[in-house]
Amino acid sequence: MKDTHLIRVRVNGREHELAVESRRTLADMLRHDLGYTGTHLGCEHGICGACTVLVDGAPARACLMFGVQADGQDVATVEGLADGEDLSDLQQAFSDRHGLQCGFCTPGFLMLAEGYLAELQAGRGDGGEPSEQQIREVVAANLCRCTGYQGIVEAVLETARRRQAMEMP
């Protein structure tokens, strides 16, 4: 007898209502029940970060959450970053800086960075412009096997600076 729960979850602003078995991870629920296959699974034990999404604005490994836990919450995935067909500033920076090769880890890095950048904008954290070293430490949460990280670090740093500059009066 499966332990199944009826839940409501908002993904990228869109409401979904579905029945989900309690053991189903948020990642599998997003990918296979709701069709958000941009969230990838790379290790299923919380190390690689490929499945990182935002839950109520904070980054979370979607392999370490059960779908049922997202009941009533807001989930943001890579599919919601762009404005229609226009890449977001962060996405564009990843392309400009060659921050991806095979692209499998990319959604996780984008969501990790979005979580961090949102924190910066909210004035939490240490304040001020982040250093390359700080960005490296944040980006170290996820694994990429292709790029050597240089383009990823540059893209996040560039976006952080650009967004901070835009906020200047």
């Binding site: 729960h5 034990h45 919380g46």
Partner: protein, 291 residues
């Protein structure tokens, strides 16, 4: 790597949680941040029959500093501690936000909880070490009401505690401030579990860095990664010694001589002893220099 089946319950209050745990029996586990439990479930190394999700219980996310010390709600996220800039907390407990940076990575810290880390009882975990270093009390709620357990009576061994299956941690209480305290650790990769971690405090009698010729009244050193429990180094020999580099070095050697660390893929006993000596010396140097 998909978890075995379980039933899921979400509770809205501490009494409801305790009642639910009592009803479900030994096979139930509390689910908070899930950053340690869920990986073990995905490997099917942990197979609880039921999970009780406590993350929606209101009112358990706080850091409150007062005359009787610092109280941290069990559902307080690591990241909340890390980003805490409350001057009352920072005055005397600045060690905690600094130490939080050593916990895993940013997304882990954004989700993992203080109480969950204490309940998980990993002997190398930062909060477990600091709880032992600062002689914290664990506040538990159970069917018979609340009880407070000194942390020295709480940890039993690797991942085991004296909490009953129908008890829930609600709060950690740090009774005494520690101005001159530090935590440092080493792992080959940033964010990994510490191969060895050292948490230290030194009592200089006054605030601020030690003046030339000052002595330390006492030194406390707790090590992680060297055994099944946070290891409290016998530092009696250091009381009254000068608050100076030679003492910190001696403390490191003292620690290294007292431990019998394990061998695994992250280093053998001789190396871990050397690491302990280094980290204790560095942590004490940092602790003494704290404002």
């Amino acid at each position: 790597m998909k978890p075995a089946p379980f039933s899921y319950y979400r509770t809205r209050s501490v009494p409801e949680t305790v009642a639910r745990l009592a009803e479900l029996g030994d096979g139930a586990k509390i689910l908070a941040g899930g950053q340690s439990l869920v990986p073990m479930m995905n490997f099917r190394l942990a197979r609880p029959d039921a999970l009780v999700d406590v993350t929606r219980i209101p009112g358990l996310e706080y850091l409150r500093a007062g005359p009787d010390g610092l109280r941290i709600g069990a559902l307080t996220r690591h990241r909340t501690v890390e980003l805490c800039r409350d001057p009352v907390v920072l005055d005397g407990f600045g060690l905690l936000p600094r130490a939080a940076r050593w916990i895993g990575h940013y997304p882990i810290r954004a989700r993992g909880t203080f109480g969950g880390s204490i309940a998980h009882a990993d002997p190398a975990a930062e909060w477990c070490l600091l709880a032992v270093l600062l002689e914290a009390n664990v506040v538990l709620a159970g069917p018979a009401g609340a009880r407070t357990v000194p942390v020295s009576d709480f940890f039993e061994g690797f991942y085991t505690t004296t909490a009953e299956p129908d008890e829930m941690i609600t709060e950690l209480h740090f009774p005494r401030a520690a101005r001159h305290a530090a935590l440092t650790e080493f792992a080959q990769r940033q964010g990994d579990f510490a191969v060895v971690a050292a948490a230290v405090s030194v009592d200089l009698g006054v605030a601020g860095p030690p003046r030339p010729g000052a002595a330390c009244r006492s030194v406390r050193v707790v090590l992680g990664g060297v055994g099944p429990l946070p290891f409290v180094v016998d530092t009696g020999a250091l009381g009254g010694q000068p608050a100076a580099a030679a003492t910190w070095r001696a403390a490191g050697e003292l620690a290294a001589a007292q431990i019998d660390p394990p061998a695994d893929g992250h280093g053998g006993p001789a190396y871990r002893r050397r690491l302990a000596a280094t980290l204790v010396e560095r942590a004490l140097t940092e602790a003494a220099a704290a404002p």
